[in-house]
């Protein structure tokens, strides 16, 4: 028994990364970044707002949270809709009570189906990030390039038609990309994407269609990871966010501005038995002298101005 000789060849073994998307960079040796008013930690809430068609697509893969039972899966369809009808507004109330603006990563279908949501987001001064067309709009290798670029355009067009503003940001479903995605997003004029979780501050990627910034949306700190996947309580979640904030605020004293992304799912965090603890966390964060609640675009613009 032996392996093909090519298995012991390493064509990309060289200084730097094994791809050309971005160079290696150490967070702790970069010039420190300054947030407005001398704040130390940018709190970046991102609410994913999703519509799951009752007939799921597995091409290229089935989105997390999608239908699970034989048709008709009313339990999952309606439980997700609970988040859209109620949970979202509980989350918005929590943030608006402390004057915070948030980013909402929105399926295009949300804008088409529920214009009242777009109006509420605009009235609150929140940012809309493009989050594919609907929850059948997953991306991975195997999706034809034409289909992927149509999906990106379809999402941006639907959100622009409903809101009057073309989204500057993009979040892929499950943060899943193909090898083409950064280039296709740059071609579509997207200023930043949120999918790569390898850093804790924005950084630039280069593609054949020009640069695109990645603003990392830490999946380890998401309600989906901590509450759904790891099955921890909302009290533990809130404790973990306070621990993270404390560490980052301390680090900011010596290394410059830091970011704490709060990735939220209305049908997970917006439930009656969880929302009180979450509101408590938002109030606690708002009381911290170094906290700066910011949208993805706010963070991008302050970072870009210092590059």
């Amino acid at each position: 028994m032996s392996l093909d000789p090519s298995y012991l060849e390493y064509p990309h073994r060289r200084p730097g990364m094994d791809h050309a998307l971005y160079p290696y960079s150490n967070l702790f040796t970069r010039p420190p970044i300054a947030w407005p008013a001398g704040k130390s930690v940018a709190i970046w809430p991102v609410i994913s707002l999703e519509w799951f068609p009752m007939v799921p697509s597995d091409t290229p893969f089935r989105a997390p949270g999608h239908m699970q039972t034989a048709y008709p899966d009313y339990r999952h369809y309606t439980a997700r809709e609970y988040g859209t009808r109620i949970g979202l507004f509980r989350l918005l109330d929590a943030f608006e009570a402390v004057g915070a603006k948030v980013s909402v990563a929105c399926n295009g279908a949300i804008a088409t189906r529920y214009p009242a949501i777009i109006e509420a987001l605009q009235a609150g001064g929140h940012e809309i990030i493009a989050h594919s067309t609907d929850m059948n709009g997953t991306i991975a290798s195997g999706l034809a390039e034409g289909e992927e670029s149509a999906l990106i355009a379809g999402s941006l067009d639907a959100l622009e038609a409903a809101s009057g503003t073309r989204p500057r940001g993009w979040l892929s479903i499950a943060r899943s990309q193909s090898f083409n995605t950064p280039r296709l997003l740059a071609e579509a004029g997207v200023a930043y994407m949120c999918d790569w979780v390898n850093d804790e501050l924005p950084y630039a990627m280069s593609t054949e269609a020009g640069a695109i910034v990645n603003v990392p949306l830490n999946h380890e700190l998401s309600d989906r990871q901590i509450i759904n996947v790891q099955q921890q309580s909302v009290d533990s979640y809130a404790q973990q966010m306070r621990d993270a904030y404390g560490w980052l605020a301390n680090e900011a004293q010596t290394h410059g501005g830091r970011m704490l992304p709060l990735h939220l799912t209305p049908y997970i965090m917006g439930l009656p038995y969880r929302i009180d603890a979450f509101e408590g966390l938002v109030r606690w964060l708002a009381e911290q002298p170094g906290a700066w609640f910011a949208t993805g675009s706010d963070i991008l613009d302050h970072w870009s101005a210092q590059e």
């Binding site: 032996s2 392996l3 073994r13 791809h19 790569w196 850093d199 380890e220 973990q240 966010m241 404390g246």
Partner: protein, 297 residues
């Protein structure tokens, strides 16, 4: 198909009761070593017929980027906390990291850490290798780490824990002193090999941060509590009059996990606790193997 054996004949049986006592320097009851895995994962590695590299089609953006967080962010945070409390690392190294990101390897070297091999990449597996292929990754490991750090590697943790039946014989033949791949004991054990001398040092899957966070789904504070309980028990058994003598506790880490902002604070409290306890001999893997061997007949 190569021969397989129901009993791998790795070591002699030795029950926890009635062993000769192990003594650690300074009369300490528990030798504690920290094993940061400094790794490099490839975005688009070739396929091994026995195991997939990534669970998703390439590029697995979350899988890859999560691990890349280690080199950009997590390592620096974890290493500072270790140094602050006096814990050296015994590094489980994807040796290609010496080529890709020498900054991380050099940082570990300057902190006085010890290096052993964890294969070339954590996306290249030993399953299915013939003897010549396996020799080539051992020779590559020895030469690459020697060139990058000046150290001759003394240990091995199989890349992504992938072995062949000849791995232990081969690393012993090349003069490596310890393996981290066997989980049968809380003290060092000699392993039966065709030539040379190879000692199994207790590493750990059970209190590995990967198990803590992704198998047992612990919160950061629960994982910290787990490590403290592990230490307290091993330190207590290590000082018992009728016990086996000094024990070994390993804390295996991946900085893309422990170096996350919600985890590093509780973890720092663990190191503070162990450093202040007084019963811990804080050491490297090589120091533990050497101290143990000096006591063997």
């Amino acid at each position: 198909m190569e021969a397989v054996h129901v009993d791998p004949q790795l070591y002699d049986f030795s029950p926890w009761r009635g062993r000769p006592k192990v003594r650690w320097p300074g009369g300490k009851s528990c030798a504690v070593w920290v094993a940061p895995n400094l790794e490099f994962y490839e975005l688009d590695p070739p396929a091994n017929p026995h195991r997939k590299s990534w669970t998703k089609p390439h590029p697995d953006v979350v899988g890859y980027a999560h691990r890349d967080h280690a080199n950009r962010v997590g390592h620096w945070r974890m290493a500072d906390v270790m140094t602050r409390h006096g814990f050296p690392g015994s590094v489980s190294l994807s040796v290609a990291l010496c080529d890709h990101i020498p900054e991380v390897v050099e940082d570990a070297r300057q902190r006085g850490w010890e290096f052993f091999s964890h294969g070339i990449y954590n996306t290249r597996y030993s399953y299915g290798m013939d003897e010549a292929q396996e020799r080539s990754i051992i020779e590559d490991s020895i030469a690459t780490v020697q060139r990058a750090t000046g150290q001759r590697i003394r240990g091995w943790l199989a890349p992504a824990l992938t072995h062949t039946p000849r791995t232990l014989d081969l690393i012993a033949e090349y003069g490596l002193d310890y393996t981290c791949d066997l989980y049968h004991d809380d003290q060092p054990t000699d392993v039966k090999t065709a030539s040379g001398r190879l000692t199994a040092i207790p590493y750990s899957l059970e209190v590995n941060d990967h198990y803590g966070f992704f198998i047992y789904n612990m919160s950061p504070r629960d994982y910290a509590d787990t490590l403290i309980r592990q230490f307290e028990r091993l330190a207590k058994e290590g000082e018992a009059q009728d016990g086996p003598g000094g024990t070994v506790m390993c804390i295996p880490l991946h900085s893309y996990l422990i170096g996350q902002p919600h985890r590093i604070g509780p973890f720092e409290e663990v190191l503070r606790h162990i450093a202040n306890d007084g019963r811990a001999w804080i050491a490297t893997a090589g120091e533990i193997v050497d101290a143990w061997r000096e006591q063997q007949p």
